[in-house]
Symmetry: C2
């Protein structure tokens, strides 16, 4: 049994892995190969510098259509003293790009000459005169592209390690090449393991997990310039996995062994690596991604030129961990093997909108969304779960909290490694506050209008607080004032004193009781929530729906303490519906659309108004224009109306103006 | 004959083209297609929004290995009052990811329980006890990934128009998809025309031009998400081109008809477009790229679902014009057909180092290099020639001078559309001053050291002036003081008074006379330059070699006015050599390496020193460290020594320190 390092810091893990790769002669370009210089060469990485073999142009070429001549013969020509040049001996017609006759040193553009016959009469075919008359002298090399103007033979066109762009192919062709020497694409074999896994496209049963890590890893590898080979799912059986790894080693430069999600699954990976070579590292103090395995295994059959050893990375089963393991370990290795610099994301600085706590000792990769609100870049952390792949889809970037830091307070300036182009950040509309099903439709419709909607669900009151802190461009709010029956305005006065805001009605929507299909517990009213046999699911404090529930309970004299599940809080209507659909609860207050989305029954209780609250200062630029346009767009209105329980008759109505 | 618009401004040309496309129903996604959700789907653009079909997880799943139980049954457990739970009725072992039994609502991690047999004795196999003892209570849904934690069925996973990244594939798979609907790749056929053209790989003769525009255009089209088809070179024959275009129209969504370099060649393109449909625009007021043609042609045989018309773009023959035509017209069209937003480069602001003159009435696309010198981004225009493809290879970006502006003064703040990641700009070493052959070697060697060398050849004195203006990090200089025989120092005192600089010797190199192979004019000395039958080529004013020539001429009593070609100035040693190799001159003063590069003879005259002059303030960061490292790197020293006429014995010697 080899001795391996357990739960070590990331830099140390990198060092250990690099040392092993270096010892095996694998910390360099793997192999060079010659490929034809065609359009498929774009994206490849030069393995040798390209020094020009030819000059370009490789002769003196006319830069205009006209007559090649000698500058000396044109001396003295001016409007009152024209000079006549004889064709053949003194001048010769030439097209742009044609080589200059050896005796000539300049070109007179055709539109600057008078074409004549031998008798001095002007001829109609200006390309074939007997003589030409000019009224201005020329100078040597005027209207000539001299040899080497673009490229001089022997000069460096591109250094090795350069990733080829379309223009580069042109310059290399001009330099006299028909083939180029590039780094061979590293072959990366991806082996998913886990008895609970089923392939994409399977009709899933309870307990099945769709295997998509190999899909993400393969797409990553290909995008980084490697050649990914995905293999079928392996059950959690030591011998099966061992045989598959051994076979993969014969044809791969790198093996990614993706463990199942079970905590025991990675132990199979570790055992296999130990049995076939050296387990170097098991567990790295990085989040998410803790159970990463690094090792080197022996290759039994060695192809010509192949190393005796193959690196293997045990990739954790949770998808966010898997994708980040790709970025942290696989990308730099592929870069090294291609001879290019590792990818380095653009970074921006912004301020955290929320506190992040982070376990000490771990380098913590926190997914964040970033948006420009006013003049400030605001950085909002999103869910931390390693199983939440949508957190990577939504992420604008990553904030790395180093292992020496326990966490960061709201307001801290942080550096974000961006997943998007920086210019996109200023086209992001930050919406915060109450969740509504129509926000998904807004995302869909804005996508074609050069805007992106990023929404955070913190409830109506949370949204107003966020506006106060300058963390979002608008807040969705449906806060009912129990005294006046008025929506939002009294809360705005309370939370945003002195801040000029515009309040626009977005939708009216039906709130009601969500219950399981067929309503097995026969819940019919707010009062039924207090029944002994009924478990509810609630919304979080500050949510408009929570305010509404509390109002309705008080109204009907029901004590919240009597209600089972009152303390079970979810952040969105859909999550409430999901809790009921999955039998975590029997009912909850929410909107009709959420019920229909998850095939629940719905008992209408209340029609409420949902407004957008927008600080006036964000109306200056054109950022929000497409959102206002949507309110008048028929296709959008129809899509909203098609959701059950929605009414758009007051969409866009101004409740309070700037 | 149709009436077309001639030499119109770019925005108008765009409008006319878009109107014609819109009338033909071609200003939208061309067609949708369904593709399997595998790694090749990365980079494709969604043609429909993806709404989740499944929740993920689609059941309540254990988030830890441990025992599923009911939180109610654990109530009251603490270190002094442990609670015992019976296996099967109250607790059940479960692996991470496994579905929770329907009766359970939380998981107690295996490391937090005491596994016991029926008699209460601790058992070794913690996975199969008869009962478990716990010393802490749990709460509902603790250590459970509840159904929908990641994705709730019906929610929007991604909007249409989104270009798929690796993570996105994972999220879509998790949402229950095995296929996705994407926009079909537009087929773009590229037809190069021009009798003077030869394919890449041809042994070129005088007058041949290597055809590489189709290569660049094809690589561009593919990189933008289209499917490029390159066809063979067509001679400048109207009927041949017409037939080829007609045939291409049957299978293409867009045709790029690339004219030869001759000014007449584009007329063939225009005639062909007129004969097959509508010529909309001939000539656009944009530089480079003036002769662009836009048109729509009829499709004779129409495939199912294909439009009756096909847009065609006549692409100018000069390669820079061709590539920019791709960026200006082809990319936005492909973007539209894919349903994604057009690419928008990141932009940065910087100050111009040199004046740019620009013809009024044209939108002028000026290639520039950009580097961070001190705290300032400096923007240096590079050569304007539309035939100089290396200008695009070298360019860090484009400055667009609008048609209302005649030019921009040095020092003006300009906006640069970047071709590179912004972070690369701060890894760029700006060298300016005297040209030396070793600078190509520096570029090659620095490429693997995370640095990029951008050099501008303005002569030794020009380099010192540039340092004074803060335009470069270092200047290469070999200025001989005729009075003292000392190098550079007196010039530094003159040009950079009060600026602390470090002066380091780079190389010593032999200056001499470059003459044609075999020295047909028998030039042997500086005095021979004044002979009647000898034409020289000179270096520009301020170049160290020019200073040296003037010094030698004065020394030997030769009048510059007597020398033919004294006023013919080139900016680099290689250009001087190229002028001689191509018979523009018989001799010139230069370095031995340039002679060997172009197979010239060399008559040694003088051994001179070439120093780097570096303002001390640029030595603060680590930017220049790799350059200093090179001076001690054996492989690099060997490469320099291998150049003829170079001596490295004093490389790195400090002439003047900070």
């Amino acid at each position: 049994m080899s001795v391996y390092l357990h739960d070590i810091p990331l830099p140390e893990a990198r060092r250990v892995f690099e040392k092993a790769l270096s010892d095996a002669g694998l910390l360099q370009v793997l192999e060079k190969e010659t490929v034809p210089l065609d359009e498929t060469a774009a994206g490849r990485v030069l393995a040798e510098p390209v020094w020009a073999k030819l000059s370009s142009p490789n002769y003196h070429a006319a830069a205009m259509d006209g007559f090649a001549t000698r500058a000396e013969d044109t001396a003295g020509a001016d409007p009152t003293h024209p000079v006549i040049l004889k064709i053949n001996s003194q001048a010769q017609y030439i097209d742009t790009g044609d080589p200059l006759p050896l005796w000539a040193n300049c070109v007179i553009p055709i539109e600057e000459v008078e074409a004549r016959d031998e008798q001095g009469r002007i001829v109609s075919d200006a390309h074939h005169p007997q003589e030409i008359l000019i009224r201005a002298g020329s100078t040597p090399w005027k209207h000539v592209r001299t040899m080497g103007e673009d490229i001089v033979a022997t000069q460096l066109i591109l250094p090795s390690g350069h990733r080829l762009r379309p223009y580069d192919l042109g310059a290399i062709a001009a330099g006299g090449y028909a083939e180029i020497t590039v780094a061979r694409k590293p072959v990366v074999t991806i082996l998913p393991t886990g008895t609970e896994l089923v392939p994409v496209g399977t009709q899933v049963q309870r307990g099945d997990i769709i295997e998509f890590n190999s899909l993400m890893l393969a797409a990553q590898v290909n995008s980084w310039g490697g050649e990914a080979h995905r293999r079928g799912i392996l059950p959690d059986q030591l011998e099966t996995i061992r045989v598959a790894v051994e076979k993969a080693a014969e044809v791969s430069d790198l093996i990614l062994l993706n463990a199942g999600s079970s905590a025991g699954s990675e132990d199979f990976s570790a055992s296999v690596v130990e049995s076939l070579g050296n387990l170097l590292v098991h567990g790295i103090a990085v989040r998410p991604g803790h159970p990463v395995i690094l090792g080197m295994i022996r290759r039994e059959k060695t192809k010509n030129g192949q190393a005796e050893q193959v690196p293997i990375i045990g990739v954790p089963g949770y998808p966010v961990s898997a994708a980040l393991t790709g970025e942290i370990f696989v990308e730099p290795l592929i870069a090294c093997w291609l001879g290019r610099a590792p990818l380095e994301p653009e970074q921006v600085k912004g301020t955290l909108t929320r506190k992040i706590t982070s376990p000490p000792g771990d380098d913590d990769y926190v997914r964040v969304v970033v948006g420009k609100v006013g003049d400030h870049l605001k950085v909002a952390p999103i869910t931390r779960g390693a199983g939440v792949i949508t957190s990577l889809v939504r992420a604008d970037g990553i904030v790395v909290i180093p292992r020496s830091v326990q966490g960061l307070e709201a307001g801290t300036e942080v550096s974000v490694r961006l997943y998007r182009a920086q210019r996109e950040l200023s086209k992001t509309i930050f919406a915060i506050g109450s969740h509504d099903m129509t926000l998904d439709l807004v995302s869909q419709f804005l996508a074609s209008k050069d805007r992106r909607l990023v929404s955070a669900n913190v409830g109506s009151q949370g949204g107003l607080v966020a506006l106060k802190r300058g963390e979002a461009h608008l807040a969705g709010s449906h806060l009912l004032d129990a005294e006046t029956g008025e929506y939002n305005l009294s809360y705005i006065r309370q939370y945003l004193p002195g801040m000029p805001v515009k309040v626009v009605t977005w939708v009216e929507r039906e709130q009601g009781l969500l219950v399981k299909k067929g309503n097995p517990k026969a819940v019919r009213s707010i009062e039924d929530m207090a029944r002994e046999d009924v478990r509810i699911v609630n919304r979080q404090r500050g949510a408009g729906t929570r305010v509404l529930l509390d109002y309705l309970l008080k109204n009907r004299g029901v004590q919240p303490e009597k209600i089972r599940g009152y303390e079970l809080e979810e952040f969105t209507h859909l999550s409430v519906a999901a809790a009921i659909a999955s039998d975590r609860a029997d009912c909850g207050l929410g909107i009709a659309a959420a019920a229909r989305a998850l095939d629940l029954d719905f008992i209408p209780i209340f029609m409420e108004r949902y407004d957008f609250v927008i600080p006036c200062r964000y109306l200056d630029g054109d950022l929000l224009d497409p959102l206002f346009d949507l309110m008048n767009e028929v296709a959008f209105q129809q899509a909203v109306s098609a959701l059950p329980g929605y009414n758009i008759r007051n969409m866009g109505k101004i409740v309070q103006d700037c």
